[in-house]
Symmetry: C2
Amino acid sequence: MKLRHFLLGLSLSATAVSFAQNQYVNPMIGTAAMGHTFPGACVPFGIVQLSPDTDTIPHNINGVYQPRVYEYCAGYKYPDKTIVGFSHTHFSGTGHSDLGDLLVMPQTGKLKLNPGTADKPDNGYRSRFSHATEKATPGYYTVMLDDYGVKAELNTTQRVGVHRYTYPKGADQRFILDLNHGLYNYDGKTLWSTLRVENDTLITGFRLTNGWARTNFTYFAISLSKPLKNYGYQDLQKSNYNGHWRKFPINRNFPEMAGRKMVSYFEFDNADQELIIKVALSATSAEGAVKNLKAEAAGKSFNQILAQAENNWQNQLSSIQVEGTDDQKAMFYTSYYHTLINPSVYQDVDGMYRGLDQNIHKAEGFTNYTIFSLWDTYRAEHPFLMLMKPQAARDMVMSMIRHQQQSVHGLLPVWSHMANDNWCMSGYHATSVLADAITKGANINKDEALKAMISTSNVEYLDGMSDYLKLGYVSLEGSGTPASNTLEYCYDDWTIYHTALLAGNQKVADQYRERALNYRKIYDTNIGFARPRHRNGSFKEPFDVKQTAGEGFIEGNSWNFSFHVPQDVYGLMKLMGGEKQFVSKLDEMFAQDLDPIYYEDNEDIEKECLIGGYVHGNEPSHHVPYLYAFTTQPWKTQYWVREIMNRMYRNNVEGLGGNDDCGQMSAWYIFTAMGFYPICPGSDQYVLGAPYLPFMKLSLDNGKTFEIRAPKVSDTNRYVKSVKLNGQPYNALYITHDMILKGGILEFEMAAKPNKTRGQKKTDKPYSLTD
Amino acid sequence: MKLRHFLLGLSLSATAVSFAQNQYVNPMIGTAAMGHTFPGACVPFGIVQLSPDTDTIPHNINGVYQPRVYEYCAGYKYPDKTIVGFSHTHFSGTGHSDLGDLLVMPQTGKLKLNPGTADKPDNGYRSRFSHATEKATPGYYTVMLDDYGVKAELNTTQRVGVHRYTYPKGADQRFILDLNHGLYNYDGKTLWSTLRVENDTLITGFRLTNGWARTNFTYFAISLSKPLKNYGYQDLQKSNYNGHWRKFPINRNFPEMAGRKMVSYFEFDNADQELIIKVALSATSAEGAVKNLKAEAAGKSFNQILAQAENNWQNQLSSIQVEGTDDQKAMFYTSYYHTLINPSVYQDVDGMYRGLDQNIHKAEGFTNYTIFSLWDTYRAEHPFLMLMKPQAARDMVMSMIRHQQQSVHGLLPVWSHMANDNWCMSGYHATSVLADAITKGANINKDEALKAMISTSNVEYLDGMSDYLKLGYVSLEGSGTPASNTLEYCYDDWTIYHTALLAGNQKVADQYRERALNYRKIYDTNIGFARPRHRNGSFKEPFDVKQTAGEGFIEGNSWNFSFHVPQDVYGLMKLMGGEKQFVSKLDEMFAQDLDPIYYEDNEDIEKECLIGGYVHGNEPSHHVPYLYAFTTQPWKTQYWVREIMNRMYRNNVEGLGGNDDCGQMSAWYIFTAMGFYPICPGSDQYVLGAPYLPFMKLSLDNGKTFEIRAPKVSDTNRYVKSVKLNGQPYNALYITHDMILKGGILEFEMAAKPNKTRGQKKTDKPYSLTD
């Protein structure tokens, strides 16, 4: 234990033990380079992520308008020198920007209503800052705003962001509320904003944005710890409307404000240096925001809310106890932390929420969630939540089913947030999440779920689906990414097949079993790779298996995607010519020296993120290291997963070897640290790798505990010699969800050399649709 | 009876008698020149006014951007040669533009998604038309769209506009839904629109506009009589957003559309020539619009809905029966028709409505109304509704009280529509409407009303109020229209005084009695006119009593406004030096020859609208002809009111001598035709003039009837010789509301010469605060 942890423990003596896990969380991990995480304050699954935005202003590069759509997904980049302000909503780890709603920035001195630029910060309201004054812990963020001498502290509840600003003695006290600010803030993103000063300590309003969420309503209610003295606004975009009849000024101390690019300010008496601002969000109405404010934050001090947030995190995180180095613990608990940010609760305290149809609904019998980055998170994030937070995981599935019922397309979410779907990436992987939850016993109506899944898998205008339904594959004429689409669709179809079996619907099961085998149709056995086809059946010519762009795949080349048949690994193996060719291809992928021409133009691949041709930062590879478990050489999984853990996850700001993608990278880390991974969500199996840490204890939702012991594990002792489950030898290369739920101890004997005899029997092998 | 009326009667034999009044309504009255009425279809107090818009495109005049804010208030100008389309919301007779929501236009042939211009109609989707094919009756409008050969027919329910288009045989069938179109359609008025094709016969969506209503949500649901074949849209404003991830086209046959300036199209099979489109509105949600659609229009044919609308109008209009020439009947029933359009019901069928706070409320115990042009309508429109439609009038008052309770300013409506207040014109005349309703026995909580009135009359930042509260008058430094503001505020204060008396609150009554006498403070007895003052007490120099602009008055010069003390005519008379001076000033006003320099730059005054210096088109004069009743020469009222009736109201398209102003001009007509007028709403008195028609019978809401007989009345016999009430001689120069409610007969003996002895006693005179 480091001294600072010890001291922190002392200072919180009453709760010292229970704060053990929180201490290890380092929200700064991933805030530089590829991680795209944010350092600000949030609580588990909260809709508020109150975090500093550094430089989000679009850049005009060579006359071409360039919003920073990729770089600033989380609003904050560690290398930046200025903070624009603190906004209330952030994606955690995505590869595309949006949100950044309701930027608040304290200010003293001259009134400035534009943010200024990074190179000329004095021209605007932004402030310089130093990392020396910055601290981020679960539920808390603080920094000194050097230009103003204001100490900023942030914490949150689920729906309320709380700001505490300590102004210099005697200085003017003001804050800016910039309703024009946003992430991916292209010109015109904010369509309209309103503000009502209800009284001298309460402000309400909304803004409507057209960003990645096409039509996004953010209502809010803001309470102030002391009365307003003066306030006003400027609309940075002049309206062409000149028909106003008002015969009195409305820009200052007029309590009803509105505009396209409205930046407002609020001024206070400075007798007391401290100002606390509570900003409640709602997607339904200002009334809803006031309700949320009252329920979660009214009458509570900053410190009370902070204690709540810290306890909340601690309660969540302490459900897994681990042993390891401080860096390992930091990486582990930060990963756990990152898995609990998105998806986020998207409803008022009374259950009212904005549905995908933009109508206001009441969530009956579930809590409504949003921010589903499903192309990423179906793989490990949702299975992980299903294991450790099954109630939330079940409610997320309910939210997806309601989404489908509200969808004019009849589609389950693809990439959805804030009552919109942007249909980002490919596939309809919500079916995987539904299937996984049903397989693992969640309280979901199977028939309702199956209906939603079937509807989703038959929407002809979805990227290449009409081809797929007719031909069994998406053609080059039908989509820009026909080969990966086909592979993704047919895995999703397997999840429907599997759900139909569980629902006792053999007819649907038979139909989707056929579809689940469609991957065969785009497999070119002559070259041994998946390869896009034309509508007439011919394969793409010319074709480069190493090229990601333009070859019919998305975020992956044919090398990566050719392994994307988690539902039928043995079927795939046969297509590849048998185990020997399969293993040799896996080996080659990890070993190959990928020419930079294959990634240097790709914003989400950097040299450091590659292990041969394996790209951990892009999700299609996430199950690949585990595929050795289907072969006679499962120890290669054990080797590579530790390699990936060591190289792609580090306890520093650049510590994530790819976008965290709403917890997917982190969930991969946790599963892999446990020694197993759900390579085919929807099945009840986890494929065994090797534990990363010597000890781990899961406190499950059902009251049972499950320990994973690997006392001798190390970089050297990375191979599994033998396994015992509850003291009995265990030879299979997978465990099931039920085994974990029953509680017990999974003990790994680790060794410096592979055990080449373990798990060789057919019955030791994981699930595959065909043999 | 004209032949066509006779034939119409025959063809509708079953209901022939009950359609007697409808036949006389001529919705074309006022559609040219100053009236600003629309010819389209509506039902009493309906939120839908489905009407053709002719040329509403903003004009670039000498490089200056000029939306047609005044000319096109109703969307339609009779002299225009083209129709852009049919939109669903219109003010009736205002002097400022807004609305024009959801323009629908049938189309055949080439797809055109912009409206084109009046001079080059072929460049856009608009069509030429001829008045020969046009017909407008209560609840119905039809016209042939010559460019397409499409016959358009329109009718409505309260919340649903119904279109029947008959396409040429074999022609392509399409309609345009232009969500960018609007009245006062300055660049950027529409902030955002969405469309969802729920299925092949149902479309939903909303648009948000920033017009005169600052933040205006219009949700809709559109049902189609036959299935869609194809559809799509174009956003005429390209978005700067370039972060879309969608890998499939969304501009055609994709059921989720959105944009800033979205123009959409919908195409149909042409086997059947007829297409019926039902467009339901809601301010709360698309769900609300669907509810309204189902409740009011589902399963009903165009003809059934038309019969409902016609019956509705007939039921309303037949409550007053009159005798007179066809032109007189046309003018009378068209006036009645115009009094029943605005205000309009603003809630869903289940009572849910958008409040001024932009939250969704449920109207409990009342029906929520909007479109309150109160500077105009407090004078005669609301008193008229209080007489003939007391339940609606009471609900309007309830709507105003709720508005006040939802107002962040604590203000009753000034000029409000669609959950916004634009604070147009001056005063807080809603207090007058509340007082009038309470005086006349409406079921209103007096204390709640008084509270709302007091709050309204003390908002310091309202145009000059802080002066008024401190000095007793609005100063030249405090407002651009300080003199008229002072006069209007102090009348409004009288209505609060009067309400306080009725509520038994003597303290408030005393306070507001003082305020009601404030008019004295801006009266310059040296010149005998109201005159603006500086904050230091000195009168404005120089000062022109005939000039409207820049002299401290609004829509009226000092000549007009100096008589604006309806609450204390005798007090005013004293200030003017006594009756002789008062009468001589009234005489001079009607007689003077106003130099064109005093009105030629004023868009709402034309030469023909003047009678001397009396400007009937501007409301501040409306009570003035009745002021003779307070003098020994009441016959001059009898002379001038007939003169105004003849000259300002004519049964033709140019037939209104001023903006109808949401029924105020029409209500003036009806009261004056009855022979009396509420010069001081809030009192229970109507001041007598002289009936315009020989016979009128009011069927009151309480089941009683009240007849007004003047058998010999004519332009010659315009003077009242004697009056009998229920057979008894009646000498007073006023009647009370109660006298009417009791039912009976008011009989006027008319003569060619004034009776100079009638009504001379003090007890014959109408109410005045002081003697």
